[in-house]
Point group: none
Chain length 536, copies 2
């Protein structure tokens, strides 16, 4: 059996407290979800805010491999013809192949919230769907509050679905909008709906009862073929059904087929990538994709695992790209490290003492808060350093940053820097929008005379994450920097209690890596950058 996954991280997910994506973040996530094999990606509600407009304009230029992009909105307003309705026309203007609209299934809601008659509500649903469908769109109809509506007035709730089908909806999605429906109720109601309404059924659950994942899975087992949810379960209140849990359960444990099936080993990485872009702590206790999901603490359990892994792991961690960890005797990823090393120093042996030294060093760094998932250039430099293949491009003699504010005047930031390259020295200064920007400008200015090739290198992304937040302003911060020369891009990392020190570390790695890259390109036209600018 095949199941379709419909991701709404970028729309319903952003209703979650603290969840925010820039237009660029959204575009990156679309590319990532497409490569993973997600079937539908809902990007936003055009017209609700200018950011979503900009997103759809940019998204129209993407060439997606597999996914269909969907725009989300509501049925038309009462007393408007569909052709004159702004929401529906905005949806068409996005030019997405799929349009998803929600309408009322609950008789009380139609009357109290929309303030229309029950007959009128059916008409609104039917002609809204028909207008979109007649404009060659695949229409997904989200039946808002379906389960509550069904419990209040089953016949009417079913009528609203039939209206959407008459209008031409290809999929009708039963939504549990307030998250209160119990899983066994879901199964019962879905069984009835299936006998009454001949259409492809989908489901959309919220997690207010802690049962959204179970309800989604049980709905598929009962016959639904389209599942809406979000990565990491982002969403309003307690969140939406977590696709990072639903996808592997359906594929690995229940034998369903899906577009993501071939790429399931990327699941953990995609989930972490989305946490990073949302700038939220990754939920490490999440099933399948959390850092603790295959972490074993109890001594007896570690013994049992070594005797028979399946005794305490319901699936193999590699199947979702995650890793088993023993918390007391950490045997962390020596083979992973080895495979990275071999990209730079081919034919390195597993017992090479440099590998052991690097492994220990990495463990120390990770314990102090470093993360190399988004900082492959820093990791590259670490390997080169461990194997004695690294030569410093410059030394820092020192820098001084002055940040000053007088009364209501804006803050001024100014950096002075002194560097040495070979026997020569250079001292210079620069101003900036903030201290890190001033420092970045000053260091590039100082080095330009020695390395003119870095003229086209610049920062494209700068992220700050507070690690031990409970220590207030004295907490440790991790800075991630993404740099680009217009063709290649690379990530670097720095960690310190001082945000300037952490930024400096990441800046230095970024420039060192940029210089090495340019040198490799000059020396050898076949030099391979670590990542393309598309972050594929």
């Amino acid at each position: 059996m095949r199941v379709l996954f419909y991701d709404t991280t970028l729309r319903d997910g952003t209703q979650g407290e603290g969840v925010y994506f820039s237009v660029q973040d959204k575009l990156r996530i679309v590319r990532k979800l497409d490569l993973l094999g997600i079937d539908y990606i809902e990007g936003g509600w055009p017209g609700a805010n200018p950011k979503d407009w900009e997103f759809y304009q940019e998204a129209a230029k993407l060439r997606l491999n597999h996914a269909k992009l969907a725009a989300f909105g509501s049925t038309r307003r009462a007393n408007h013809r569909p052709e004159d309705d702004k929401t529906l026309n905005d949806l068409l203007a996005t030019k997405t192949p799929v349009v998803t609209i929600f309408g009322k299934s609950w008789d009380l809601h139609a009357q109290e919230v929309l303030r229309v008659s029950l007959a009128e509500n059916l008409q609104i649903i039917e002609d809204s769907v028909r207008y979109l469908h007649s404009n060659q769109r695949e229409v997904v109809y989200d039946a808002e509050h379906f389960f509550d509506g069904y419990k209040s007035n089953p016949d009417y709730a079913l009528e609203t679905l039939r209206a959407a089908i008459r209008g031409g909806a290809s999929t009708v999605v039963l939504c549990d909008t307030n998250g209160g429906t119990m899983p066994l109720e879901v199964v019962e109601i879905l069984k009835t709906v299936q006998t009454q309404v001949p259409v492809q059924l989908g489901v959309h659950f919220h997690n207010d009862s802690g049962t959204a994942v179970a309800s989604s899975i049980m709905a598929v087992q009962t016959g639904a073929v389209h599942v809406q949810g979000t990565f990491n379960g982002y969403g309003e209140r307690c969140g939406n059904a977590n696709l990072s849990s639903i996808i592997p359960t359906l594929i690995l444990k229940l034998g369903y087929d899906a577009g993501v099936k071939e790429n399931l080993t990327q699941l953990t990485e995609v989930s972490r990538y989305i946490s990073e872009l949302a700038n939220l702590h990754h939920d490490e206790r999440q099933p399948y994709v959390g850092g603790s999901a295959f972490a074993h603490k109890a001594g007896t359990h570690v013994d049992a695992i070594l005797k028979n892994p399946l005794s305490l792991e319901h699936i193999r961690s590699e199947q979702v790209g995650n890793k088993r960890r023993f918390l007391l005797s950490d045997q962390a990823g020596r083979s992973t490290i080895l495979s990275k090393v071999r990209e730079i120093v081919p034919n390195t042996k597993k017992d090479d003492p440099h590998v052991l030294a690097l492994t220990n060093h990495l463990k120390q760094l990770e314990n102090s808060g470093y993360q190399f998932e988004a900082a492959d250039a820093s990791f590259d430099l670490l390997i080169k350093k461990a194997f004695g293949l690294f030569e410093k491009a410059f030394t820092l003699e020192g820098f001084r940053l002055i940040v000053e504010k007088r009364g209501d005047q804006p803050v001024l930031a100014e950096a002075t820097i002194k560097v040495g390259v070979g026997d020569e020295q250079e001292i210079t200064a620069a101003e900036g929008d903030g201290p890190v920007n001033a420092l970045d400008s000053a260091i590039r200015k100082a080095l330009l005379r020695f390395y003119p090739e870095i003229a086209d290198v610049g920062l494209v992304d700068y992220k700050v994450r507070v690690l031990d937040e409970d220590r207030g302003t004295a907490s440790k911060v991790r800075v991630l920097i993404e740099s680009s020369d217009g063709t290649n891009s690379w990530g670097t990392v720095g960690v310190s209690e001082n945000i300037i020190e952490a930024s400096w570390e990441a800046l230095v790695d970024s420039i060192e890596y940029g210089i090495l890259l340019k040198k490799a390109q000059r020396d050898n036209h076949s030099a391979k950058p670590k990542r393309s600018s598309n972050e594929n």
Copy 2:
């Protein structure tokens, strides 16, 4: 129908990554859970470590109102008489009224892990239980890996339960130890067990498939009367079934009776209390007890809630001691703002020109990157400013920050600040781990003479988010600060291209709010802070 809740936060919960309780913490939690009305509290595994011994010695002195304390351990070792078995005798030595032991249900496990014959395993279970029972203990038998064992060899798995019953177990608990059993399987297997084994049945689920809460609820609906779980879902790997979700669902939504029923309004507080003692971030997205569980962001949703709360809340937040919150965001409407204004200026009319001005001002701020979701104190000050109710506590004459690095030495940060209060001025300086920490120390130091009451105010959380990341280090940042005086806590926000300016803005709001709060507390004992430290 009555259901019994068995809490294992203090035993299985501590298998979770990062979960640690001192003996004192454990005793406090026992008292708290007892007052809440939990039926059984499992405190640890005596003999497994000295801390658990100490705990049971101290716990024996507690006078509990309702709960029965349980000690946890395993069946006896092979080739030992029960009377000579250290584990069983340790359990008796705790003098708890209840003893819980686990044994093997899975034929393979008995043979591979215990290395005993299948018949011998039955004997071990039976005489271990009998020994404890004959010493006047209520014995709970945890059937480890029951569901996997049942799927592998149903007859033998049932035999192990019968062995425990013959020994005198009062409750037999079906455990899904690796968390892989699907909810519908749970229901099927439980139905069969019920017809075969005449005893009070319990369940114990792990969350590796994200379905532990659903499985627990469905098991009770199928006939189980004893539910094991942990608060906040702490536990090994992805955690145990979350009692903070299961309890209100069974009582409020499915009509079950339980010892906690009368005290359900304490649920959120107890859950937060346990997070505090575990020194872990409270999972704010948790059903029922999370800070986001009743938080509404979308403007359309806020309207709907005001028209009919049940449209987007499956229960009333007060029922579990939680609170509804309207999040101020780019998606929030005017009615959200008005409801916030009325908390400070009661009886404000919807068409009050101040409200319109405030709404417009907020939109501008939000467009420039401000977010007030986690910054209610900044929002408070904005309202007071809009209504002319705000008086500045101090003026900034200026500050200068110097951040310096020499060679490989660590970065030094030093702040000089000059403030005015009334006709007086104060200039002072402070060092810090980083620029913001130095600035924070300096401003507090400068103001202490004028406002000694802020001596106990400090930052407890500091978050930085880069807004338009594609501009590299020149991008805009949003700083969120959480401050506390030990009793109350409040959030403030600042936005700028300069991280120092943004931090300064949030710092100033934090201090202004702290001073106002202290003043209100002095002036009026009934002053209501926006949030208590319990964040109810």
